[in-house]
Amino acid sequence: MIEHIELFFKSIFIDNMVFAVFLGMCSYLAVSKKVATAVGLGAAVIFVLAITVPLNWLLDQYLLQPGALKWLGAEYADYDLSFLSFIMFIATIATMVQLVEIVVEKFSPSLYNSLGIFLPLIAVNCAILGGSLFMQAREIETLGLALNYGVSSGIGWFLAILAIAAIREKIRYSNVPAPLRGLGITFIITGLMGIGFLSFGGMLTGGDEEEAPKEGEPTSQVETIETETETVVELANNTKIIE
């Protein structure tokens, strides 16, 4: 139970899809002009995430992970289909978005019209694919937690687009310098909102048990960059030798 609550608040506030990892920016920037539309899109994103993340969790557990095919028989136990995750995840997401589109068109034509092209574009909203991929990368353990993760990261995205839509409605009559009008000021607001959301960064770390130090992540990134540059240098050397 406690890990459910922790995951819920963590994915809404601390690992917020927009302000912590900057995913799903295109629809976040484009559909945030009015609060009503933003609420519609936010609800659609919550819905799609809530369905696709558990579905993809099942796919990942029983099809894609290394050794996931054990249930077929012992001879399949060492199969690793994880190279298929992208295409499988995207297929699930596209199907679900089609479903949402049909449902919205049937029950709320006005919302369908105001969302316009951005409703089918949820299929390529990086927050949705990001949700599934984070689910895979963080090795979320149970189906329940996966559902929780989908719903709560959707709520985080919903809160972000709701807040920026309200701010944009508020500043509609502000005398913003001409070059910054429109997207420019929206980017600046997003950055300032990110500062506001920093209040949760690093929260819930510590407590009774010491957590593993986080210093490992940046150094490993640096290392990969270094190895990449090395290979590039090698490639460059190779071409020179061929010449």
């Binding site: 701010i167 506001g196 929260m203 407590g207």
Partner: protein
């Protein structure tokens, strides 16, 4: 009236040129303008923007003076503590002394001057470029900024932060009254995230501690929140906290003077009592929840959160910047919620979240700044739903009448 006439002549001379707003601003700042309305007036009020700003500054001046004396006092107390002598505060004996005042004035006044000069320079430049009058919006921000930074903040750092805060935080939105986040807090947050070593720890709260670091007679002073976050015991009792003889940012320490300033703001109807009251309520509720958790025994003394969680709920109101933030920054009329119902929600969440951040977030011992910034982000959302709720209720009433 020599200066006034000279300024008036200058104003006439530069009328219509690009530099006009700059001269107009100096003239309006110092004197009442000569121009009066030619037709009959419709609304007569005295509280224009200039007077509003001046009222807040008047409420801030006691905190500033106290901060100056406290800077000197903490300096001497820390030096004594390094020698192993405990300092007992006595108001006339070792607090309100000329020596303390000189040390404090030498450290605090440069902060004030840099904040005003840099900030007003940015305002003037923008007014001249954009061709509108200089707005008085920076007057309060410029006074708040030196009061919420640690005493030894380097002046160039402050200048960079002020430029960032005024340009990105305010001018890109169209100037005074249009900003989303409180500019003073934007400046503080910029300093906090850009130069963390200068904004937290036990070396920045006492004048001279950073310069003497590593020397045999090094001094240090930890804020109460800082020591609580590390589960250390606190050497100050509640009267010290209430009157403010504790280390901390320049103006935030004295809860008594902030309380007086808050009452003054409420009395003059500049600050919203709804926000102040609900914010205190929110903090008390969260403090009681945490006290309840400790009493129920759900959390052991070895936990990192124990020190702050077991702090009595009323103590949370006295320590750190909570009182200062609630009275002077949460009530900023531009960035707070505009509707009355919204103000209750906004204030309550500020109190609630700031105590939560204090306890749960070991990275930030002080949560008020970030709680207010976060609620500034959500204030338009709260307003939107309050207004929509009103619209819906009235529509219902209208339907009942027509039906």
């Amino acid at each position: 009236m020599g200066l006034k006439n000279n300024l008036h002549n200058l104003k006439e001379k530069y009328k219509g040129t690009k530099m006009a707003p700059a001269f107009n601003a100096i003239h309006t700042f110092l004197y009442l303008p000569n121009e009066t309305t030619h037709n009959g007036t419709h609304i007569k009020v005295a509280d224009d923007l200039k007077r509003t700003m001046n009222t807040v500054i008047m409420a801030l001046v006691p905190c500033l003076i106290f901060g100056i004396f406290n800077a000197g006092y903490q300096h001497h107390a820390a030096i004594n503590a390094a020698k192993g002598i405990a300092t007992e505060v006595s108001l006339m004996g070792n607090f309100l002394t000329w020596d303390n005042f000189v040390i404090g004035a030498w450290t605090v006044l440069p902060l004030v001057i840099v904040s005003y000069v840099v900030g007003l320079a940015v305002e003037f430049v923008f007014a001249v470029i954009k061709g509108h009058e200089v707005e008085e919006g920076y007057l309060v921000t410029g006074m708040l900024v030196p009061l919420i930074v640690p005493i030894d903040t380097p002046l160039w750092m402050l200048a960079v932060a002020v430029i960032f805060g005024v340009v990105i935080g305010k001018e890109v939105f169209g100037g005074t009254g249009m900003n989303i986040l409180n500019p003073a807090l934007t400046i503080r947050a910029f300093l906090f995230f850009a130069y963390p070593t200068w904004m937290s720890g036990d070396k920045v709260w006492v004048h001279g501690a950073k310069a003497m670091e590593g020397q045999p007679d090094a001094i240090s002073g930890e804020t109460i929140l800082g020591s609580l976050a590390q589960n250390q015991t606190v050497a100050y009792d509640w009267t010290d906290m209430f009157f403010g003889f504790i280390p901390g940012s320049v103006g935030e320490t004295s809860a008594l003077l902030i309380l007086l300033g808050g009452l003054f703001l409420i009395f003059s109807k500049i600050g919203s009592w709804r926000i102040m009251l609900s914010s205190v309520l929110g903090a008390v509720v969260m403090g009681l929840i945490f006290n309840g958790v400790v009493d129920a025994g759900w959390i052991s003394e070895s936990s990192k959160f124990y020190g702050l969680m077991s702090t009595d709920f009323w103590m949370h109101l006295l320590i750190g910047g909570f009182a200062f933030g609630t009275v002077y920054m949460a009530t900023d009329p531009v960035t707070a919620s505009q509707t009355n119902k919204g103000k209750w929600i906004y204030g309550f969440l500020i109190g609630f979240i700031s105590i939560m951040i204090r306890v749960f977030n070991p990275a930030y011992p002080e949560g008020v700044m970030l709680a207010i910034l976060l609620m500034n982000v959500f204030a338009p959302t709260i307003d939107h739903y309050v207004v929509q709720g009103n619209v819906k209720r009235r529509m219902k009433r209208l339907k009942l009448k027509t039906a």
